[in-house]
């Protein structure tokens, strides 16, 4: 077959496919016109696009996507934060170390969730009701539990494990949370203030304190000769020696937590 004819056939096929796609996407004369939401809502024909790019039927599709986000994606995301929050990598072999949260982390998590309720991030009364089905209430309960676990583990992530730094940072958190309990908030401001608070704690632990921690040496005497200042600070502050990967894991842990928190709807209705 001559090459010219072949090119013409391919060109024709491509044009046909492109036209089909444009037709399906609601185009007029080859130009894509954004659908008028109000008009389409009125007609009950508002549509959403699923992961395969296929259009789904209006309200039911939107509801399904929201339900998937709320009851599948968010609990799994918060549980991932709960998994990562206590994960450290030992130095120098990068072995997993799973740190269980201290009791104070659970207490802080309860206070912080109280703040979410006060700040309007969560309208608690809309999440549980006798009018909902059992499955609905249980699913909401699982989401709230996963949020609690993630919150406790986020505190576990940024509070130093032992020694004086543990008490100092815990005290700072206690002071801040106690003050916030009596302040007037709106949800957005609360979220911003929390991001700033946790970012500061993260930098304090994984940048400042980690920078002061002496690397694992061959022996005490050799370490003292090579890094006398760091070795002394490590000993005085009882700083644990973790490998650098720990900071990266905890960075993404915080990022996921706040991403989940910002996509958590105020109420479940």
């Amino acid at each position: 077959m001559p090459v010219g004819i072949l090119i013409a056939i391919v060109k024709e096929r491509l044009e046909k496919t492109a036209n089909d796609i444009l037709d399906r996407a609601g185009s007029v004369d080859g130009g894509i016109v954004p659908p008028d939401e109000t008009e389409m809502e009125q007609q009950g024909a508002l549509s959403a696009i699923d992961t395969s790019g296929k259009r789904l039927d209006g309200e039911s599709a939107r509801k399904r996507q929201r339900t998937l986000r709320l009851y599948v994606f968010l609990p799994l995301l918060f549980l991932t934060v709960a998994l990562m929050g206590g994960l450290r990598l030992a130095s120098p072999d990068s072995a997993f170390v799973f740190m269980r949260p201290a009791l104070v982390c659970l207490f802080f998590a309860v206070v912080l969730i109280g703040l979410f309720v006060r700040g309007g991030i969560i309208a608690f009364e809309s999440w549980f009701s006798d009018e909902y089905s059992t499955a609905h209430n249980i699913a909401n309960g699982v989401l709230m539990l996963s949020l609690f676990a993630a919150t406790a583990q986020v505190f576990n992530s940024v509070i130093p494990e032992t020694g004086l730094p543990f008490w100092v940072v815990s005290f700072c958190f206690a002071w801040t949370l106690w003050n916030n309990l009596f302040a007037e908030f709106d949800g957005r401001k609360l979220l911003r203030s929390l991001i700033a608070l946790f970012a500061f704690a993260f930098v304090a632990k994984y940048v400042v304190l980690a920078g002061l921690t002496a690397p694992t040496g061959d022996g005490w005497l050799r370490s003292m000769i090579e890094n006398p200042a760091k070795e002394t600070v490590t000993w005085l502050l009882e700083l644990p020696r973790y490998s650098a990967g720990t900071g990266y894991i905890q960075f993404f842990c915080l990022l996921l937590y706040f991403a989940g928190l910002s996509s958590l709807p105020r109420d479940a209705s």
């Binding site: 009851y71 799994l76 997993f96 170390v97 499955a135």
Partner: protein
């Protein structure tokens, strides 16, 4: 998919994932490879506990036989390991009696006994009357048939008396 089904699916997934996380924090594997090993060990332990709850628990006869063979050839450390693995839930009086007896035979000495092993044996023996107060061993090779006799032997062996300096002790036999 209906909203209700998505909620149920989400709940099931979250519970399974939550259980996995709790397992990780309880088992504390140090590497990804260790996760599998610890998971298998946890499953085995759960199955055994399930058998105990349903009343279908039995000792691992093959391991018990290996333990007996090691016990008869005076390899008491191996014997104890096999007995412990044959009865991980410590619910079989006979196996537990053999474990205690292995401490006696290993710790027995013509001149002096090993106090540490005798103490360990005494400790291991405590469970036998708890499982079966009327336990009597059917093994003809064992001269001490009951927990009381074996306990007495341990206690006498741990005491320091004038009889310990009796030269006739050198001709006594291990029971």
């Amino acid at each position: 998919m209906k909203v209700k089904y998505i909620q149920i699916l989400g709940t099931v997934l979250a519970v399974l994932y939550g259980v996995f996380i709790v397992f990780l924090y309880a088992a504390e594997p140090r590497s990804l490879g260790e996760v599998t090993t610890k998971a298998m060990s946890a499953v085995e332990s759960t199955v055994t506990k399930g058998q105990v709850l349903t009343g279908t628990y039995e000792i691992d006869q093959a391991r018990f036989n290996e333990g007996i063979a090691a016990f008869r050839s005076d390899n008491f450390v191996l014997a104890r390991d096999r007995f412990e693995r044959a009865d991980p839930e410590k619910r079989d009086a006979n196996t537990q009696f053999y474990i205690a007896y292995s401490y006696y035979r290993q710790g027995w000495g013509r001149i002096s006994n090993d106090d540490a092993l005798f103490k360990a044996g005494l400790e291991a023996l405590k469970i036998v009357p708890q499982i079966d107060p009327d336990f009597v061993s059917k093994d003809a090779d064992l001269k001490l048939k009951t927990a009381a006799e074996l306990r007495n032997e341990f206690e006498e062996g741990l005491k320091v008396t004038a009889d310990d300096f009796n030269p006739l002790r050198l001709v006594r036999e291990r029971k």
